[in-house]
Symmetry: C2
Subunit: 128 residues, 2 copies
Amino acid sequence: MVRALLLVAHGSRMTRSNDEIRAMTERVREFSSDGYTLIDCAFLELADPSIGDGIERLIQQGADRVAVLPYFLAAGRHVAEDIPAEVNTKIAEHPSVAIELLPYIGTAEAMPQLLADMIPSPDSEPAA
Amino acid sequence: MVRALLLVAHGSRMTRSNDEIRAMTERVREFSSDGYTLIDCAFLELADPSIGDGIERLIQQGADRVAVLPYFLAAGRHVAEDIPAEVNTKIAEHPSVAIELLPYIGTAEAMPQLLADMIPSPDSEPAA
């Protein structure tokens, strides 16, 4: 069983922003290599690869199970409609591969705590 | 000293998506009420209040220090240009209020681990 993960981000016209997603993908590899042979990223728009191409590439590399993780914070149109549409197309094309769409990260149990940890202590000086 | 936090999200045409942000704001209130008298949210576009109106509202409620936390994952145009522009307008309008723009949440140290925790165990069955 070759398991694969595809992190799906929105994509930006700014190369630096897309490179951030690639760097985050690299860090997820470090945190969760256990059991996942392939971990890569794809973009809904404005950057390559597309979601379909990203899934396709993982399958060509031998994945027989692909988990798609939307790197999105709320279930707007992209999460509710656009990403499922692209994933469903690939599911139809590859009936022998288990392709599953995971919940978007805005639903993570740890998110409120992560946000709270970003807030400066009430005693701190304002940033310059 | 009345400290305030404004969580800034993108905004969506889908009401449910904006309501998610409001619910997350409520959860952040639970996690970090300590020292922050006011915690609210605002939207870059497609939903109300705007960032400017959100900051204004906090100041009208007595805030003399406002931290703005971008609920964004990567530094695309919105994070790099649009949000700072709106915040800077308010800084210019309210020289007696300490308004500071915090790093966007994609930079959180805990983010790679949060992502890794979203990935199903390699032994789990695919979702139906």
